[in-house]
Symmetry: C2
Subunit: 415 residues, 2 copies
């Protein structure tokens, strides 16, 4: 029994084939690479019920992951995040089977941990000593921390405006951290140059093929947590889109394995912010690629990606599942975030909240039916964005009496 | 098959017995109450292997929890947090089997979620409409969010100096939040009065008996994750001490059930901050209760508890397991926190870091042997304390070249 049944890699654009085990970055044609497995063999040696007694992290699916030597696994216990029924907010938007996949309950507080866990493990397996990446914050934090655990150095460049907490995470992990007085695209240019100059391994989004393999485990988990059924709809906050590409890839793999039915995939929904919606624009125009979104801006920092390298794969997953793309404005996102906290007790990130706003709107348009099983994917904990909500709270002196105004027992908002 | 095998409650001080299912607070004698179960019956209907296929949250132990009607369970998917090998930092302090129970990977980002999940579920079962508590931040945040999920109102009072993020969590959950220009003891006095005036349910630490039942599941999980063996030592950052009392209670229950050996319990270690070490002082003087610690101060906000209601139970657990108590200064804690992040890739809270410093010192004193199995309990994510670490990071302009100083590739600290 092998630990991994990786067979090879291939380019989804020009179909060129690559061997497993190399220090792959992009294809010569500029496309990201995808990893293939010997699914026929896996089908013989592994059954869904075998998973029941395995560890509750994403390595439970190790046959379907690229790491070949178990010793190279770098883990902080990531995966098998809760799939929570959201009954109150579901009722509020007339969706009776609304669930949230809560990726805030994971090391480093965001779903970036999945990509970092598998990506860094592969970097270790490939003997890489230092990796480098630009980031809007969360990915850099995850990769810096996992790299530290794997004994690998990291160089990270992020915009000065990125959330301060992610800066602290990189710094405390011992990363060689630099800020740039600009956008992630400026950070990306600096990294490209640094990678060449110092011969570092470039782990920018989709420039190495293994991050997507970590992210795809969200798809496996959703299917497993639903008893090897798929939902009707999955809504995903889309920046680089790696998670959506990954979920789609995972579901196709599960179909091939025969673990889920072959005749139905969930309709995938790419949710973006109105201030940065290149995928939505491309989808509306029925295009296969997106255009660079000029002057992008949104409080949902993680989806502020003006042009994603894997846009064509994201769009393909929408077209092939009869999904759609939809943009939400910042004010609506923040209002939804507060509503979710009050109704469900979950303090989620703005990106996650946007998927609920999208579900609400798609239900209004009857694109989502009232009794469909709908999964909103929350990509991170609200804790990582302490400044998106701010409240005025009364201050008392010791010994003072508290006056409860029962009729007005709502929270006080401020900005 | 019953959902819970709760039998009754009892007072550990005066031994008075109370029936299950009432709105219990403290015993007439002033002591917290403990919950009892029909362990003989549980032993008949439940075996350790039955747990293998259950959900990976703390409700997998529902027979050993007080909620009698499954419908009343209020959950965000809390529990079964990672038990991580800490090889690098372990080697650094010459402990070959050092593990960390990482309670940062849980809803609301701290172990307070466990107490809140079970406490709020019981509040729901008891028909309580509004609960109230003073807090240093994290407990209030957890209870406010779980209460929101359970459809229960909450009144929270916290010091103005409590971490701002916990304030936001309470506010966004819709709690009736008030700040006090003082300490948690001042908040406590305000809550005591408010509870009387408005007939609210007082969920202050140990004033209701169910929070401890949630916390004890850490003990079950540690035993289950070690294959129903116990470690040699468990180090716990001790403020109110509920987790330590809970872990001790859980291990005793597992002994009675015969799920772990009867002849050995781990030596429990209460770790405190030098600026607030009442338990350490009492333990050194071999006393059964602690004295109020005047002018307490520490950056480890969660353990700033000058006098714990359950101090006698904490001390009892130390004496009966041949454990000990030890205090660590703030500077050492912060240095350890950074070391752990660099060596292990885990960004943990200062309270959690203090348990590593304690392990290091106890190893130096040979109180811990080099080959013993040692568990450091991290009570929360470093994310919740963004201001305990601060770093000076170079800022570049777009288009600038990054200069790597490989020989000096360490992080830049500032305060």
């Amino acid at each position: 029994m092998k630990f991994s049944y990786i067979s090879h890699l291939h380019c989804p654009k020009c179909q060129k084939r690559f061997s497993a085990g190399g220090k792959h970055q992009l294809c010569e044609c500029g496309s990201p690479l995808l990893v293939n497995y010997d699914l026929k063999e896996i089908g013989k040696v592994l059954k869904p019920k075998d998973l029941l007694t395995r560890n509750t992290d994403l390595w439970r699916y190790h046959e379907l992951l690229p790491v070949q030597n178990k010793e190279n696994v770098v883990t902080l216990g990531e995966g098998m995040t809760p799939l929570l029924p959201m009954k109150q907010i579901g009722a509020d938007m007339d969706i009776s089977n609304l669930l949230m996949k809560d990726e805030g309950i994971i090391p480093t507080g965001t779903f970036k941990a999945r990509g970092a866990a598998v990506g860094v493990s592969m970097a270790k397996e490939l003997g890489i000593q230092e990796l480098a990446m630009p980031t809007n914050g969360n990915a850099g934090a995850s990769w810096a921390l996992y790299a530290a655990r794997g004994g690998i150095n990291s160089t990270i460049v992020m915009p000065v405006d990125a959330p301060k907490i992610t800066r602290n995470e990189c710094a405390i992990a011992g990363a060689d951290l630099h800020l740039v007085n600009g956008l992630i695209s400026d950070a990306g240019k600096i990294i490209s140059q640094t990678v060449k100059e110092y011969a570092l391994f470039d782990v920018s989004t989709l420039k190495e093929p293994y991050r997507i393999e970590g992210k795809k485990t969200m798809g496996y988990e959703i299917a497993e947590q639903l008893g090897w059924k798929v939902p009707d709809v999955i809504l995903y906050p889309t920046g680089g889109g790696v998670g959506l590409i990954g979920i789609y890839k995972a579901l196709k793999e599960l179909q091939t394995l025969g673990w889920i039915a072959e005749d139905k995939l969930p309709r995938l929904v790419a949710v973006q912010a109105e201030g940065c919606a290149p995928i939505v624009k491309a989808w509306k125009e029925n295009k296969m690629e997106s255009e660079f979104w000029v002057d992008s801006e949104t409080i949902a920092f993680g989806v502020n990606v003006p042009k994603a390298l894997g846009d064509f794969l994201v769009l393909q997953s929408l077209y092939e599942t009869n999904g759609c793309a939809i943009a939400i404005d910042d004010e609506t996102i923040l209002e939804e975030q507060r509503k979710i906290a009050r109704m469900e007790g979950t303090f989620i990130c703005p990106e996650g909240a946007s998927t609920f706003s999208a579900a609400r709107r798609l239900r209004e348009e009857n694109w989502i039916k009232a009794n469909e099983v709908v999964i909103a994917l929350n990509t991170g904990a609200g804790l990582k964005y302490p400044d998106t909500s701010s409240f005025e709270t009364p201050v008392m002196e010791p010994g003072e009496s508290l006056t409860k105004n029962v009729s007005n027992n709502t929270f006080r908002e401020g900005r």
